[in-house]
């Protein structure tokens, strides 16, 4: 198993390299420099050239790239043009918000998807199953932003059950219990929206896995042993169907991050996705570069995590 994990890690290295190269090229093509924030219209052109030289922007591209990667490794992406603070500080704040939102989403996601998928599979072709199929069909077909808007319109504006913007009520004192409750309260609607959209893949997968597993020979063996029906489900069918789902966790993370751009924008939730969109709007390139890099890294990490979990839960991979 360790061999698989280490090999998987090694595969990640060239992927990271290509990713960083891609982003570096994009960054180079963006108007402006890492020190754009320090320039004002009154700055002397000679001074700019001096700054360019000083910052090594006239060096060959590979030297610049090496330096850029070196900085990136230390979390150094320059300063934000709009906020006039270090990019790392800015992202750090927002990242925590996104992290908590994603965590709540993941909890809701599995809490909804696993029972629905498993039960739909067990009671295949029942009314319950048909309901689940309908639910997953609709949430598959509906685009993220449409669902988000409709939920926001009804639960936020019409019924006013949930707040429509922000991550916390500004009147609450940080650290107090009310503060945390307010935080969770603000996360519920965006997390739920995101979770509903994420459940589709898991429900469909689990349902077909369970349905297929029912006619597997090993289930027949278990029945032939005289194992009670409930135990056949819990020990053989559900376990065998759920283990691969565990490996979805990594991809779920990737998926949640991708969706967070829409969700955070619509619910005006101050996370990384919203920061990304506002940075694009204000052409705050150093922040954009850092965010793309971070997202790419997290996505790679997610797929790595999935592969590792898979190799842990499946003995066919575990024992080589």
């Amino acid at each position: 198993m360790w061999k698989t994990v280490v090999r998987r890690f090694l595969i990640m290295i060239p992927q990271l390299f290509v990713l960083s190269l891609l982003i570096f090229i994009m960054a180079k093509n963006m108007p402006g420099d890492p020190f754009t924030g320090k320039i004002t219209p009154e700055t002397d052109p000679a001074r700019i050239e001096e700054l360019r030289e000083l910052n090594g922007l006239n060096d060959p591209w590979y030297e610049q790239y090496a330096r850029w990667v070196g900085n990136a490794f230390q979390g150094e992406f320059g300063n934000s043009y709009t906020y006039k603070v270090k990019v790392s500080t800015l992202i750090g704040e927002r990242a925590m918000n996104t992290f908590w939102l994603s965590l709540l989403t993941a909890v809701m996601l599995y809490a909804i998807a696993v029972p629905l998928g498993v039960l739909a599979g067990r009671f295949h072709n029942s009314w319950f199953d048909r309901g689940v199929v309908l639910y997953s069909f609709i949430s598959y077909a509906i685009p993220t932003f449409v669902l988000a808007l409709i939920l926001l319109y009804f639960f936020g504006y019409k019924l006013q059950w949930f707040p429509t913007t922000g991550s916390v009520d500004v009147r609450e004192v940080p650290g107090s219990a009310g503060y945390y409750i307010s935080k969770i309260y603000h996360m519920i609607l965006p997390a739920f929206t995101s979770a509903v959209l994420g459940t589709v893949a898991i429900i469909q997968y689990l349902r077909t896995e369970v349905v297929d597993a029912k006619s597997m020979d090993y289930v027949r063996t278990a029945r032939a042993k005289g194992v009670p029906a409930n135990k056949v489900y819990s020990k053989h069918i559900f376990r065998n169907s759920l283990l691969p789902v565990a490996a979805f966790i990594g991809f779920t993370i990737t998926g949640l991050l991708g969706g967070s751009i829409f969700i955070e924008t619509i619910f005006a939730y101050p996370g990384m996705g919203q920061l990304f969109i506002s940075s694009i709007a204000s052409r705050d390139y150093s922040v954009i570069t850092a965010l793309v890099m971070l997202y790419g890294f997290l996505a790679l990490l997610g797929s790595l995590l999935s592969d590792i979990i898979m190799s842990i839960v499946d003995p066919r991979i575990r024992i080589e």
Partner: protein
């Protein structure tokens, strides 16, 4: 038992291939919801194209401050937006643009994906290895963000660059699916038989393998068409879609970013959102019904 059932059905249809369009159509007639979705889909799409003939984009987009946020009336069927422009007209023209762009993206990603997928699945070896590495990499990329960045840094941004940028990230999933189907199909003995009978690879790929996965290709094209409508409108919604001169369904929905419009002037954004929803539901249902029909195991019988 399933086999027995098939035998009976085969008796009725004289000499039709097991997954021909005829069979698919018969399945469709049996599934009322699918038929209903198909009708909705055809009506919505053809309705948009026909209605768009009666709207002059310049006329529709004309600013008329007097009718700012006018509620629905006989003059403005769906009211007017902040500039007093007719929402219904924008809806029709926007929908036409959205549909055309989604079709273009589907055609490009479909063609590229099918070619690469077939080549990978049939030949295997280093061709497969190379493309699979590329596809794996693409799939882990935060593609939405990169598309947005691309869109903002492309110097001369037009509808065509938009289509190309989105297509650049869209072909991988189709290629992956076609590859897996082509792979299992290529392992079947009829492909081996054709090889031993002196048929060349090119002919085998396009005349033997492709027809056998054609039903899956149609299904995927349908579903990815729906997906592409979602991607285009979504990006436009965020403000990174079509150039401002070309309205899209997403442009209308984007008005909802303004809390006042969202809560009060619902007629500006809600019809477009609902139209997208109906379009997506019907196209997706048609796609899934096609998938059921193409798969002998899932046929309704």
């Amino acid at each position: 038992m399933v086999k027995e059932k098939d035998n009976k059905k085969e008796q009725e249809i004289i000499s039709a291939p097991p997954t021909g369009m005829q069979v698919v159509w018969r399945e469709f007639i049996k599934d009322r919801v699918a038929m209903f979705s198909l009708i909705i889909m055809v009506l919505a799409i053809s309705g948009v194209f026909i209605a768009s003939l009666f709207f002059d984009p310049a006329e529709v987009m004309k600013v008329s401050l007097r009718s700012k946020y006018a509620p629905p009336s006989s003059l403005h069927w769906l009211g007017a937006d902040i500039g007093g422009s007719d929402v219904f007209g924008q809806l029709i023209i926007g929908a036409k643009n959205s549909l055309l762009i989604a079709i273009a993206i589907t055609l490009i990603t479909g063609t590229v994906g099918i070619f690469i997928g077939l080549a990978c699945g049939y030949f295997g070896g280093w061709i497969d290895n190379m493309f699979m590495r590329i596809i794996d990499f693409f799939i882990t990329l935060p593609s939405l963000m990169i598309i947005i960045v691309f869109i903002t840094i492309v110097p001369k941004y037009t509808v065509f660059t938009f289509i190309l940028i989105v297509s650049l990230f869209g072909w991988t999933s189709i290629a992956r699916l076609v590859r897996s189907k082509a792979l299992s199909e290529s392992r079947r003995d009829y492909v081996n038989a054709s090889k031993t009978l002196g048929t060349n690879d090119f002919v085998i790929i396009f005349k033997e393998v492709m027809p056998n996965i054609s039903s899956i290709l149609i299904v995927e094209a349908t579903l990815s068409f729906a997906g592409n409508i979602g991607i285009e409108t979504g990006l436009t919604f965020l403000g990174f879609g079509l150039p401002p001169s070309t309205p899209s369904l997403g442009t209308l929905v984007a008005y909802a970013n303004n809390p006042l419009v969202m809560s009060t002037y619902w007629w500006v954004w809600l019809p477009a959102a609902l139209f997208i929803l109906i379009l997506m539901l019907s196209i997706n249902y048609v796609g899934q019904a096609l998938r059921r029909a193409a798969d002998a195991k899932q046929r309704l019988g």
